[in-house]
């Protein structure tokens, strides 16, 4: 496909890799924030092609993986109701809650539908006026404009049988939390390209300033990821810390102002728990007072469902970049995509699933 294939060219990849190798004189630890980038890296073996000194730490940017267990349990409670059609993106269906997953609810007769877009859920609500239709709205800033527009349209159409179970998370507060953590080794970030497509770059300026850490907006094709790495390493070697854009075909400094406007109209910032990580202040979006009627957590009275995570799964350490997936004792044994212990083994953006799928089965610890 045009503008995709060109950014996977092997000869150009070799050039970029050679340049990274020439530039690198000492060890550096970089974090790719987004799970989509993690998959590109593992699928193409980019981490193995880089000089030994350049380490990639996989970040927490898999929305399904960081959705709190509590929210999954609330989703399960809502989805089990006979009056509800519960709509979700596909990879949420098998994420384990405390006791079940959505697929179990479906096998017991729950009406659970996998949709491609939240607009599909609105259509289902229009076609089923006698049912309550709930859309499970998770994701980063990339997904928020779609969910915001969907709720806005539902309100315009007085679609009283539609609601949203929202658990949005934000990248800049996560970068801040990682840099504030005493165990963090991250020296530079590949920022998630499509988050920047929506939000622009200005939010990252204060982070670069405060932590003196290079942040480079980076795309998702193999050459994009290599160029992001090359720019971060070049900065680190030169002792610089700057905000840079390695994905200018999709990212402008100001982002998408129309999308930002609708997001601000519908959502407000809130504290958010991240699965495996814990609470990060002001790191989420929830529906604001104007749209509270469309909040599924209020409509179905599930706010009293509180759960704590089991200690079996070490995905928290994986999500914070403290542990590589194949360093977990359960990896590929008790925990596989067929019977996952944690969300990163389920999601198409999860680091554990990437390692499993692309045959990094050797257990190193």
């Amino acid at each position: 496909m045009k503008y995709l294939d060109e950014f996977g060219d092997a000869d150009l990849a070799r050039k970029l890799l050679d340049d990274i190798a020439e530039t690198t004189t000492q060890p550096w630890a970089l974090m790719e924030v987004c799970g989509g980038q993690t998959h590109t890296i593992i699928r193409n073996g980019i981490d193995q092609l880089l000089p030994d000194e350049v380490e990639l730490i996989h970040g927490p940017g898999c929305p399904v993986c960081v959705t709190p267990l509590e929210t999954i349990d609330r989703a399960l409670a809502i989805a089990a109701r006979p009056d509800v059609i519960f709509c979700s993106f596909g990879d949420m269906i098998r994420v384990p809650g405390s006791t079940d997953d959505l697929l179990c609810i479906k096998s017991r007769g729950g009406d659970i539908r996998i949709v491609y877009s939240p607009l599909d859920a609105v259509r289902i609500a229009q076609q089923n006026p006698e049912k309550q239709v709930v859309f499970f709205g998770v994701g980063f800033e990339t997904t928020a404009p779609a969910n915001a527009m969907t709720v806005k349209l539902a309100k315009q159409q007085n679609l009283a049988n539609f609601s949203l179970l929202v658990s949005h998370v934000l990248v800049p507060p996560a970068i801040r939390a990682i840099m504030d953590s005493p165990t963090s080794r991250v020296q530079g970030f590949l920022a998630a390209g499509h988050v920047c497509t929506v939000m622009g770059l200005s939010e990252y300026e204060p982070l670069v300033e405060q932590y003196q850490v290079p942040i480079v907006a980076t795309g998702f094709e193999p050459l994009d990821v290599l160029e992001g790495i090359r720019r971060v390493v070049t900065q680190l070697e030169a002792g610089r810390a700057e905000l840079d854009n390695a994905y200018p075909r999709a990212v402008t400094p100001e982002g998408n102002p129309v999308a930002q406007g609708v997001v601000r109209e519908v959502f407000e910032t809130c504290d958010r728990s991240w699965r495996g990580i814990g609470m990060i202040p002001q790191s989420g979006w929830r529906l604001n007072a104007d749209y509270a009627d469309f909040d599924a957590e209020r409509r179905f009275d599930v706010l009293d469902i509180m759960t704590t995570e089991s200690s079996l799964c070490r995905s928290g350490e994986v999500l914070q970049g403290l542990l590589k997936p194949n360093q977990c004792a359960a990896f590929g044994k008790e925990c596989t995509p067929r019977s996952p212990l944690g969300a990163p083994m389920v999601s198409s953006e999860g680091a554990c699933a990437a390692y499993y799928q692309f045959r990094r089965l050797e257990v190193t610890a």
Binding site: Y116, P118, M149, E227
Partner: protein
């Protein structure tokens, strides 16, 4: 992007994803036209892909390392 139409004031389009065609909402990209490339996430176009910038980036990749070769720098490429 192939075809554009209007549903109750919201612009929609058919987008060709390398052979797979999907319906996409254009509410966030008021200036895209038929024939443009867009980046689509969960049924919403998020931006018009800047083709000139894409070509520039590819040119930049082609030129990486050239300067060193021209200057005949002795380079250790492992």
């Amino acid at each position: 992007m192939e075809q554009v139409w209007d549903v109750e004031g919201t612009r929609m389009a058919t987008v060709d994803f390398g052979g797979v065609r999907k319906e996409v909402c254009l509410a966030y990209v008021p200036d895209v036209q038929v024939g443009d490339y867009t980046i689509v996430h969960v049924g919403f176009a998020l931006t018009k892909l800047d083709e000139a910038s894409a070509l520039e980036t590819l040119e930049l990749f082609k030129s990486v390392g050239l300067l060193d070769e021209e200057l005949n720098v002795n380079v250790d490429t492992r």
